[in-house]
């Protein structure tokens, strides 16, 4: 535990991934800032009508101050996106945003608060070492920096899962499935009106199913709070978390929270780059296609891409892992999907498929013996 703590205090590594997370967070801050322009167009400023400040009323931003701060937030978000003065800009936008949240708790939303917390924490990371507009790519050595605050951002994600899952676990209505059940029942008439078979909706609205879904949601959040931090469970936790957040995105309105969560998930990737390799046969159409796909989708710079028919060993492509193990075919595709954000949802299905084929091949070999 002590060595883990020491490592957290002193860890330095490549800041490429955290810089990518900064860029995405900047876009989210920009979108969030643009939403704040809505109230500016309103005839009444929030402080001039009913509001519930957490600060003393005298400290609540009037229309002029609110306008200046909102425009400042937008300008700072642009700096965060382009990477120029990104870290002070992150700190500034977080402070302004938190101040405005304290001005009116009617405007409070968990996802907005979370975005500001992550902006605050990213300000303490070396997130300006890559993805800087107008600056040439820097060397791996120049990108190195302390990642203690990135680990704190990971922990913040865990706190969110513990808080959300824990509060549901302590709530009998949630545990018993009443909350999810009621949502499903109310969605039933809407779904049937949109053409979903009534029989299917009847099954989904069963209390037993609602109860099971509620327990699954609670277990999911509590599992993610721990599973993301354990090397053995991390890949599965990330996959399960991606599915969880995408499901929430299509069934509920959570503003930017899905994309924020998925961006923060990137911080759970190993900071070092290109520790894996895709070796492909340049004469194989499939091999060159795979290489092209990886080049386009390898946003986290996981792969070193090499054209080498000999090293591919007669395969169209081979994935070489950090430990030197090689995989081709479906298992290779699964390992590739595991490292490419856009294909990540396919990682587990492909892995299961690869295992099924492998065990079938084993069965066939045993039968032949």
């Amino acid at each position: 535990m002590t060595s883990l703590f020491r490592r957290w205090q002193t860890e330095e590594d490549d800041a490429y991934v955290v810089s990518l997370v900064r860029t995405i967070s900047g876009v989210l801050l920009l979108l969030s800032g643009l939403r704040e322009l809505g109230p500016l167009r309103s005839d009444a400023h929030f402080a001039d009508v009913f509001h519930i400040p957490l600060l003393p009323e005298a400290l609540v931003a009037g229309r002029a101050v609110f306008t200046v701060l909102t425009l400042a937030q937008l300008a700072l978000a642009v700096l965060v996106v382009v990477g120029r003065w990104a870290r002070p800009a992150l700190l500034g936008t977080a402070i302004i945003g938190l101040y405005l949240l304290l001005c009116d708790r009617l405007a409070y939303h968990n996802n907005r608060y979370a975005l500001l917390l992550f902006a605050l924490l990213l300000a303490f990371t070396p997130c300006d070492r890559a993805f800087v507009v107008g600056r040439a790519a820097t060397s791996a050595k120049a990108r190195r920096g302390p990642l203690w605050a990135a680990r704190l951002a990971q922990m913040q994600m865990g706190i969110i899962y513990v808080a959300s899952g824990g509060s549901k676990l302590l709530d009998a209505d949630w545990r018993e499935g009443r909350v999810i059940g009621d949502r499903l029942v109310r969605a039933t008439s809407m779904a049937i009106a949109k053409g979903v078979p009534a029989e299917l909706m009847e099954v989904l609205a069963q209390p037993a199913l609602a109860s099971a879904l509620a327990k699954l949601a609670i277990l999911t959040e509590l599992f993610l709070a721990a599973g993301l931090f354990l090397p053995r469970t991390r890949a599965f936790a990330l996959w399960w978390g991606v599915m969880f957040h995408l499901t929430i995105e299509v069934t509920s309105q959570v503003e930017l929270f899905t994309w924020l969560s998925l961006a923060i998930y990137a911080l759970f990737a190993v900071p070092a780059l290109r520790e894996r390799a895709v070796v492909y046969d340049p004469d194989s159409r499939r091999g060159t296609f795979v290489a092209r796909v990886v080049r386009r989708l390898d946003w986290l710079a996981r792969f070193d891409i090499r054209a080498d028919a000999g090293a591919a060993g007669g395969r169209a492509f081979v994935i070489v892992e950090r430990d030197g193990t090689r995989a081709a075919g479906i298992l290779g595709a699964a390992r590739m999907a595991r490292a490419l954000p856009l294909l990540f949802p396919l990682f587990l299905p492909l892995r299961v498929l690869a295992r099924a084929f492998s065990s079938r091949a084993d069965d066939a070999r045993t039968a032949a013996c």
């Binding site: 205090q9 002193t10 309103s42 009444a44 929030f46 009508v49 009913f50 519930i52 957490l54 870290r87 002070p88 700190l91 708790r105 009617l106 409070y108 968990n110 608060y113 979370a114 917390l117 924490l121 300000a123 303490f124 302390p146 203690w148 605050a149 704190l152 922990m155 913040q156 706190i159 969110i160 513990v162 808080a163 959300s164 824990g166 509060s167 549901k168 709530d171 209505d173 949630w174 009443r178 909350v179 999810i180 059940g181 009621d182 949502r183 029942v185 109310r186 509920s252």
Partner: protein
């Protein structure tokens, strides 16, 4: 780069400890805040509610009676001239400004009742020119997590007590 963003080992340890302590205390004290702000209680309820607004006005006999309103009403000012008032002039929140039809009680019933009580007090405090309304009253029908509905009444601070 401001030095504050690159703290030394001791400072970053203190920062992290303070950060985690603040976050943990905000989560653990969620129950003390009716709307659970800063505590990440996501999708905590599926409850709905309908707000029916009324005004408590004085009767000729010296008592008071409740007059329902759709959110807009006319009342006399001190000079005897009729003036028009609207709930939505001050209450812009999409949930609290919806009267007479069910709305999702975002962040839960407790959160919305807490906000509604504050809204009633706020509007009652800002009815300059309405010398008739003694208090604003909200009869709230609540469907908590799909259960049978029940009704509760909230009343603003008394005007001209």
């Amino acid at each position: 780069m401001p030095r504050v963003l690159d703290p030394g080992i001791r400072a970053r340890t203190w920062f992290a400890a303070a950060y985690v302590a603040i976050q943990a205390s905000l989560v653990l004290t969620a129950a003390s805040r009716p709307d659970g702000v800063f505590s990440f209680q996501m999708f905590n309820e599926s409850s709905r509610m309908t707000i029916a607004l009324g005004r408590r006005v004085r009767t000729a006999g010296g008592g008071t009676t409740l007059v329902s309103t759709d959110g807009a009403w006319e009342a006399m000012d001190a000079s005897g001239a009729a003036r028009r008032f609207r709930w939505s002039d001050r209450v812009r929140d999409p949930i609290l400004s919806t009267l007479g039809r069910p709305v999702h009680a975002s962040y839960g019933v407790a959160a919305q009742l807490f906000r509604l009580q504050k809204a009633l007090d706020d509007v009652a405090d800002h009815l300059q020119g309405d010398v008739e309304t003694r208090a604003l009253v909200a009869d709230v029908r609540i469907w908590k997590n799909g259960r049978e509905s029940y009704e509760t009444r909230l009343e603003s601070r008394a005007r001209y007590p």
